[in-house]
Amino acid sequence: MSWIYSYHSHMLRHTPPAVIIAGDELELDNKDGIVWYGYHRKDCRRILIYRTPGITPDMFERYTVEGTNKPFYVVRHVKPRWTRLGDYETSVFLVPNDGSTHNHTTYLWVGRGPFTPIPCGGHKDTVKINDRTFIDRKCYQMCLATRAVWICYDEHVYEVCWDSYETFSSAVKLVGTRDEIIARALAGDKECQKILNGLNINPQQIP
């Protein structure tokens, strides 16, 4: 069962960077700064999100998707750094904006997987991280994208679509179910057809 989430960043170049973390609850009060993690055992990949000392819990604005209780967080004036340690660890660090030329919004999708990120705009380098860890039939996954991306995850379709800092609270929207996306694609909807192609779903028909 898959949920499809879509990210649409109508980014304004002059806006300072922000990070949207969607898909799961964060633990903001951890003393070690880990706000999200996905690992259970030593022999499984650790997937982590840290907030660095300059990023305080009150900087995380929590919202829920209208119509569902799916949480997402907006952290303004922040950008991500990340490291991957072979098969052992993937860490994302939320660091304060240092005033560099980086002025993108970055999207982190975390939670129970597996899910599949699909770049909306077709840019191959959109997805910077897409790591999973499988433990006892459970899967945790983290995806970091720098541009618009759809994420197929469970049964429904969500969309992140924001124009400015003022519209962050409605950045993640429920679009429909996976079945609805397929039905729309079959009825000719180009955007839904892109999702189907990205998921390698090829409906069969009578020859």
């Binding site: 039905a183 069969q204 009578i206």
Partner: protein, 187 residues
Amino acid sequence: MLYIIGEYLNFRDGILLWSACNGATRRVLKLLRAPNIADDQFIQCKISGCDTPVYQLKQGTIHWIDTSRKETSVFIIGTKTPEPKAVYVVLNADQGFGVIAHPSNSSPVHLHRTSSGSRACSAIAVVSAPAFVERYRYDGSPKDYFYLAENAPSYLGSRNAVIAKAFADDDVCRQLMQQAGWDIGTL
């Protein structure tokens, strides 16, 4: 022409018209429609001799997704031109059914999936006409038969009724008797 036969459709749940699943680990069977098909395009018809529901759709086609994740979804899509052949979507939420080929159509089944539980076996199939459908019953009680013709479906009744009609020179029943390979004793 498109026909949906076997179960009543639910038009209140948006795109999901029918679904069946006989257990949490069993295959989910779904019949869905694309948003370009309105309720009134489904014309409900009656079959003489039985109360099995039939819907006719003049302009539509069928796609399906049959995944290894134990989910089969059949989508009805609106088209500008009618399907050149008669295609049937056969549904059953009771004990399932079998499809028997017609002499003029040796491979009528495009899709046939079941969701088999302890007491029931729901089924969905995409079948091109002409073909026969053998509807299964609980505990081996007598099956009954439908003829999915190019122009409309018809009910043939139980096996004994089919045999009786075949001996009365009914062509369709004779074809079914021949295709089903029933062993009928004679002097």
